[in-house]
């Protein structure tokens, strides 16, 4: 009897333990996300005097423009801000920022130190969670404020997307002017937002297709020196130019290997173009293709183990992938039309290319196995995609048909890998053959 009575509370105990509806979870499966840009409030960086305050406003402007241009962020109009910068220094009133529908907040300060250097700090706040997400500070020369602004932009971008940024980068390209049959082409370089522009050559020598080294401040390109088209190397720091290798025929279409140690390029000999690499340290030359077709426009995968290139060995220009030693060549493009200028994304997941079909040019991407082909942009002539170092954004150039006087317009564009947010890049004159630098070290 006693035993029976003892069991009863035990049974109740077990019942309460196993069936605990107070802690039952309702499972909700949410699919179908939206893809709206993240609303972000970027306040003027505070300055302790007018000079610093002006730099603060300039930095804010650059950061705002960078984030807006990426297409992933939507900076909120500063006229809607409720909390002022002064009180913000003591901390955000998150309610003020939530009420204007801001998900994130950037606050910062600029100080011109007594030693003449510039100190910039910023904090990124999560408005909804009401906490700081990141806070960093930088010191540099005052004249360098623009680069600091790009670095700040990258830090914000990375914290909110998980991806490396791409704002502290440069673009080298060919600046063009004049009519078609007397086109002057100069090597030029600028920040990715178009600022800080300068010409590197005077146009007396024809130069084409520059590419940036992923590891050093060097550019490789094709130049017609003494009527001999060859691949050259230019050191941006020293200004030194040097011929790459000692090849008997035209070398062209150069790229760097991911470790920066090799140049991969094509050489034309006897009417046949094949792909070679040259190690910049050992000067050793390795031939990677050996067939009668035109093999060119080789581009390494970011792990350096594979190469995508352009070949007409099958009759028409198509894309092929091979191992870095030249073995296991296989075709990956099977769509209609001609495929050219392949560039492997630094993120590794996509290959961008130019496609020509029925008189229209396209910039497209596909996965390295050839699947998932998508066209991002099209036009009379769009060509020569290049990836930003985070593999999220492409730049290419777009050329309009020329008129009977040979006047032609050619401009650089950027576009997101999703195919949205295509924008023209401001250049002083016409532009082609863009090449994106890595993040500036």
């Amino acid at each position: 009897m006693r035993r029976v009575r003892a069991i009863f509370p035990i049974a109740l105990f077990l019942l309460a333990v196993t069936a605990n509806p107070g802690r039952a979870e309702l499972f909700v499966d949410v699919t179908g996300p939206n893809f709206e840009p993240l609303p972000i409030a970027i306040t003027d960086f505070y300055g302790n005097d007018e000079g610093a305050a002006q730099i603060g406003r300039d930095i804010t402007q650059v950061v705002t423009a960078n984030l807006e241009r990426s297409g992933l962020f939507k900076p909120i109009d500063p006229r809607a801000f409720i909390q002022d910068i002064g009180s913000l220094r003591a901390g955000p009133r998150f309610g003020d920022w939530r009420v204007i529908n801001s998900d994130a907040l950037v606050s910062g300060g600029v100080e011109l130190q007594s030693d003449g250097r510039l100190r910039v700090e910023f904090r990124l706040w999560d408005v909804l969670a009401e906490q700081q997400m990141t806070g960093l500070a930088y010191v540099s020369t005052p004249a360098n404020w623009r680069r600091v602004a790009h670095i700040v932009s990258d830090a914000i971008y990375k914290r909110l997307t998980g991806e490396e940024g791409y704002f502290d980068t440069r673009i080298v390209y060919i600046a063009e002017s004049g009519p078609q049959n007397r086109r002057v082409k100069r090597l030029a370089i600028m920040d990715q937002d178009g600022d800080n522009h300068s010409y590197l050559t005077d146009g007396s020598t024809l130069m084409l297709t520059p590419r940036f080294s992923p590891t050093s401040q060097e550019i490789t390109y094709l130049a017609y020196v003494n009527d001999q088209p060859r691949v050259y190397l230019l050191n941006l720091d020293t200004g030194q130019q040097e011929l790459v290798g000692n090849f008997p025929g035209m070398t062209f279409a150069p790229r760097f290997s991911p470790d920066g140690n090799k140049i991969i390029m094509s050489m034309a000999e006897g009417g046949n173009s094949d792909i070679y690499t040259m190690d910049l340290r050992t000067r050793q030359v390795v031939r990677l293709t050996n067939d009668p077709g035109i093999d060119t426009s080789a581009s390494y995968a970011p792990d350096g183990r594979q190469i995508v290139f352009n070949s007409d060995r099958g009759g028409q220009q198509q894309l092929y992938v091979m191992n870095a030693d030249g073995t296991n060549v296989r075709r990956i493009s099977f769509g209609e039309g001609l495929y050219a200028t392949p560039v492997w994304s630094p993120r590794g997941d996509l290959i961008a290319f130019t496609r020509i079909h029925q008189g229209t040019f396209y910039i497209g991407v596909m996965k390295p196995d050839g699947s998932g082909e998508r066209m991002l942009s099209s036009g009379f002539l769009v060509e020569s995609p290049t990836w930003a170092p985070n593999g999220r954004v492409l730049s290419f150039f777009r050329q309009e048909p020329s008129d009977s006087q040979g006047r032609v317009r050619s401009r650089l564009y950027t576009i997101d890998l999703t195919g949205f947010n295509e924008r023209e890049v401001a250049t002083p004159i016409d532009a082609s053959d863009p090449a994106w630098s890595p993040l500036i070290p």
């Binding site: 049959n181 088209p229 009417g271 060119t296 020509i356 020329s402």
Partner: protein
């Protein structure tokens, strides 16, 4: 004297008129930018200096043309190259450079290779005809040196060419 001059001029004009002029099809041959120049020279009765560029342009033609994305020498092109071989034999000290060009309807790097192929096609044919290869250099300009302005099929057809340049 005047009559002789006039008859020469007239015959020159007739000859000039007999040159096939560019039409809108892809099969094109004939001169373009130097055509006016040639007519002007002939009108003035000035004989081109043998072995000069003008001489080559008049007697042979400055270039041959190609089909889209092709480096094959068409029969008309072959005829021109044969004339070129003869000219080179007649001017044994002359060296020429063959410049390969393409139209703008392709990508830059591939077109550099294609221009090289076109120049090489002419060179190989000349060597097969017996011309010493040492006298023939090639260079490709890809799509960088159009000779006909505008983005029309006519212009593109003209720009797909291999041009002969006398070097010495």
């Amino acid at each position: 004297m005047r009559l002789t001059f006039l008859s020469i001029a007239l015959s020159a004009l007739v000859v000039a008129g007999c040159e096939t002029t560019p039409d809108s099809t892809a099969d094109q041959e004939g001169v373009v930018s130097s055509e006016e120049e040639i007519v002007a020279i002939q009108q003035q009765g000035v004989q081109a200096v043998p072995g000069s560029q003008e001489d080559l342009d008049i007697l042979v033609g400055p270039r041959v043309f190609f089909d889209f994305d092709s480096s094959a020498l068409r029969s008309d092109a072959q005829a021109t190259v044969q004339n070129l071989g003869a000219w080179l034999e007649a001017n044994p000290t002359k060296r020429i450079r063959i410049e390969g060009n393409t139209d703008e309807r392709g990508t830059r790097e591939y077109n550099l290779a294609l221009g090289d192929r076109r120049a090489e096609a002419v060179r190989s044919y000349l060597m097969a005809l017996g011309v010493n290869g040492n006298r023939l250099t090639t260079i490709s300009f890809g799509k960088e040196r159009p000779i006909r302005l505008g983005s029309t099929p006519e212009a593109w057809a003209m720009n797909r060419n291999a041009t002969f340049v006398v070097l010495n």
